[in-house]
C-alpha cells in the first residue's frame, strides 16, 4: 500500500489484510513493553491543518509504538496561517526527509493532491479531508465491529450479513462516506438515517439504503447503530430548526436504546454531544464501543503506517 487516501480504493482482501495486521498490532499493546522496532529510523509527520487532538494523538501513539520518529506539524500558528501554500509546506516536509505524512485538512481531496502532486515522495495517509473521507476511522470502526462479533477469532473475517445504521449529518460527514464504502466492501449492509437536509444530493446512487425515520430503522434491529456528531453551526444554516427537535427525532435516547437488540452495538466516532445525538445512558451502556473505538484506532493506525512504510504491505 503506497498511500491511504480513501476507503473507496480498497479491495475486500486489502481491507482484511489491514484489519488482520491491526490484530497483530493490538497484541503489541498487550505486551509489557508496548513497542516494536518495525519503523525505526522512519520519520512520520502529523500535518494537521485542522485541530483534532484525538486523531493526532492516536496517530502519534501508533507511530511511537512502531519506533518511528514523530514530528507534529500543526498548521495553526505556523507559517501556513501566514499564507504558506500546501505546496510549500509539502516541499518543506520533503526536504526534512519525511517518510510518511499523516494529513488532516479542511479541503476535500487535499491528501489526493499531496499524493499526486510530485511535491513530496512520502507515503500519504489521509487523517480526514474536508467532507470527503476519514479512512482510518472507517477501518477502526470495521475492526471494532469485527472484534465484537468474532472476538479473538476475528482474523480473516469479513462483515458479511452485518447490518449497520448510520444516523446523523451524512452530508458533512467524512466518517459516513468512508464507512459507506468500506463496510459495504466487507459485505455489510449500510443504512443512512437523517433528515433530507443532511443527506447529499444523489445519495440514492450510493450502495446504501436511506431512511428519514430513525424509529423505523431501529425496528429492523440493526446489528450496529453509529451515531454521528451534530455540529451546532448546522442549525444556523437551516439544516434543522433546533437542537431539541433534532434530538427528539434523530437522537439515540433512552427509549430508542431500549428498542435495540441485546447484542447490538452503539458506536460514535467522537467527540460526542451527550444529550444531543446520543443520551448519556446510550453512550455509557455496555453496548457502546466508544472507548474500544479509541483503543482500536491506535492498532489500525499502526497497521496503516506499517503497511505504507514497510514496503511489503498491501500486495499480499
Amino acid at each position: 500500500m503506497r498511500h491511504l487516501l480513501s476507503t473507496r480504493d480498497l479491495s475486500r482482501d486489502e481491507t482484511i489484510t489491514i484489519l488482520d495486521v491491526a490484530e497483530d498490532m493490538a497484541d503489541v499493546a498487550e505486551r509489557e513493553v508496548r513497542k516494536v522496532p518495525a519503523l525505526r529510523g522512519k520519520t512520520v509527520v502529523n500535518l494537521f491543518f485542522e485541530d483534532s487532538t484525538r486523531t493526532r494523538i492516536s496517530f502519534e501513539a501508533a507511530a511511537k509504538r512502531l519506533s518511528a520518529d514523530v514530528i507534529n506539524f500543526s498548521a495553526k500558528g505556523s507559517s501556513v496561517s501566514k499564507g504558506e501554500s500546501l505546496k510549500d509546506t509539502a516541499q518543506t516536509l520533503a526536504a526534512i526527509g519525511a517518510d510518511a505524512v499523516v494529513i488532516r485538512h479542511g479541503a476535500s481531496g487535499a491528501p489526493h493532491v499531496l499524493a499526486n502532486s510530485g511535491w513530496i515522495d512520502a507515503a500519504i495517509v489521509n487523517a480526514g479531508d474536508g467532507t470527503h473521507e476519514h479512512p482510518t476511522q472507517a477501518l477502526l470502526d470495521a475492526f471494532t465491529i469485527r472484534r465484537r462479533l468474532h472476538g479473538a477469532d476475528s482474523r480473516g473475517h469479513d462483515l458479511d450479513g452485518v447490518s449497520v445504521t448510520i444516523v446523523g449529518d451524512i452530508l458533512h460527514s467524512r466518517v459516513a462516506r468512508s464507512n459507506a464504502w468500506l463496510l459495504t466492501t466487507l459485505g455489510a449492509s449500510v443504512t443512512f438515517v437523517a433528515p433530507a437536509t443532511l443527506l447529499p444530493i444523489g445519495v440514492e446512487n450510493w450502495p446504501v439504503e436511506v431512511r428519514y425515520d430513525l424509529d423505523i430503522a431501529l425496528a429492523a434491529k440493526p446489528d450496529v447503530v453509529m451515531m454521528l456528531r451534530i455540529q451546532g453551526e448546522r442549525m444556523h444554516a437551516a439544516f434543522f430548526p433546533s437542537a431539541r427537535e433534532y434530538s427528539r427525532i434523530w437522537g439515540l435516547d433512552d427509549e430508542r436504546l431500549a428498542v435495540l437488540a441485546a447484542d447490538s452495538i452503539v458506536m460514535h466516532p467522537g467527540p460526542m454531544n451527550r444529550g444531543l445525538e446520543i443520551s448519556a445512558a446510550a453512550a455509557d451502556s455496555p453496548r457502546s464501543t466508544v472507548r474500544e473505538q479509541v483503543a482500536n484506532g491506535v492498532s489500525i493506525r499502526m497497521a496503516v503506517l506499517y503497511l505504507t512504510l514497510s514496503g511489503e504491505g498491501g500486495k499480499q
Partner: protein
Amino acid sequence: MTETILVRAVTLVDGTSTDILVRDSRIAELGRAIFASADRLIDGAGLIALPGLVDLHTHLREPGFEQSETIFSGSRAAAIGGFTAVHAMANTSPVADTAGVVEQVMSLGDRHGYVTVRPIGAVTRGLEGQQLSEIGAMANSRAQVRVFSDDGKCVSDALLMRRALEYVKTFGGVIAQHAQEPRLTEGAQMNEGSLSGELGLAGWPAVAEEAIIARDVLLAQHVGARLHVCHLSTAGSVEVVRWAKARGIDVTAEVTPHHLLLTEQLAVGYDSRYKVNPPLRRDEDVRAVREGLADGTIDIIATDHAPHPVEAKDCEWEAAAFGMVGLESALSVVQASVVDTGLLDWADIARVFSKTPAAIGQLAGYAQGIAVGAPASFTLYDPSVSRVFEATQLRGKGVNSPYLSTTLPGRIMATFHRGYATVLDGELVDAETVAAAARAHDQAGVGRG
C-alpha cells in the same frame, strides 16, 4: 501604406474554393485564379477561411491583475486562436465601471493591434450589486460600450436587474448575465450531484443557474429589454431559453467550448485545472448544450478565457481559483465537440463564433463574413491536423488549460486583422510589426472595423 495579400485556393465555409485578395484593409476580390500583384502570397490549400472569430466573453485582467494576463498577452492568445475581436470583461481592478477605465482598455488593445478589444462595462458599481454603474457614460464614451456585465458575479437582486435591463435599453445595450443564485451556491465547488456528494465537494446545483435565467427572461419580457445569458451550462437552462425564445423574448445565450466538451467526471482526481464557474456538468448536460447550439437555442460560443497565475491553481481544489484559459484552444475544442460530431458545419461555426457574437456586441464589420468590401478580418484554419496540446502552444500568461497533454484537432495557420497579419505559418507575428501595421491601418483612415 497597407499590405496587399493574396491567399490562394482556400476553402470557404460553404465548401467552395477561392482566392482572397486583400487590399487597403478590405477584401478586394474573391474568385478563382485572381490575377493581381501582392506583397504577400499565401498558399491556402487544405485550409478553411473563417471570418475572424469574435469572443464575447474574455478576461484580459488588465488593469489590476497583470500577473494573470495583460491586454497585450491576452490579445496574442486571441490572435493565435483565430480571433480578431474580444470583449474584455469588467472584473478588473479598478473595475470597468467608468468611462475612463473602458477607454483605457480599448486604447491599449488598439495600440497592440492583435485584435479589436471591446470593453464590457460593469452593471453595478464595483461589481457590488448595490447600485448601477455609470452605464450612460460608458455607452457614450469613445469605447462606445454596448455590453454590460458583472460577470464573475450575478446581478442577483431582482429589482436591480430589472432597472439594469431598462436602463441599458435606453442606450441600446444588452445585459450579459452571469446566472448564479448566490445563496444556493455559497462555498460551491463543483456540479451538485452524486459525484459531488462522493467527493465531499460543496455542490453548485443546476437550479442556481436555471432559476436566475428563468427570472431574467421574464424580467426582460416584462420591460421589453434584451438579455444575454453568459456561459449557459445545464440541460435545464437550454430548456428555459428555448421556452423564452418560443415566447418571443429577446434573449441570446452563449456556451463555452469547455462546456461543450468536458464533464464533471474530471473532478475525480481533484485536479484544480478542471475547477471552473459555472462548473463542468454531467454528460446529459453536455449533450443538451451541443443540441441547443445546433438548433439555435444557444446563439454563440464564447470562451470565458480566465487566466490565473500558477499558484492560484497549484493547490488543493477548494483553495484554487475558478476558471480556465480558452482562447488558444477554442476552435480546436469546438471542432472536436460539435463539428467532428456532425452537429454543426463550418458555416454554422462562422455564425456562432463570429457573426452573431459581433451582432450581440454591436461590433461592425462582421455582418457579411468573408465578402468583397468587408474588412479583411479572417483566419485560416487547418482542420485536418491533430496535435497534442501543450503549454508551449499557449500564448497568454495563464497555463491553466484543461487540455494540456490531450490530443485536439486542427490548428490556426494564419490570422488577418483589418487587413494585416497577426499570425503567419501558425505562429504569431512579432509585436512591433503588428503594432506598426495597426498604426498604418489607423493612419490610412480606413476607420475602425
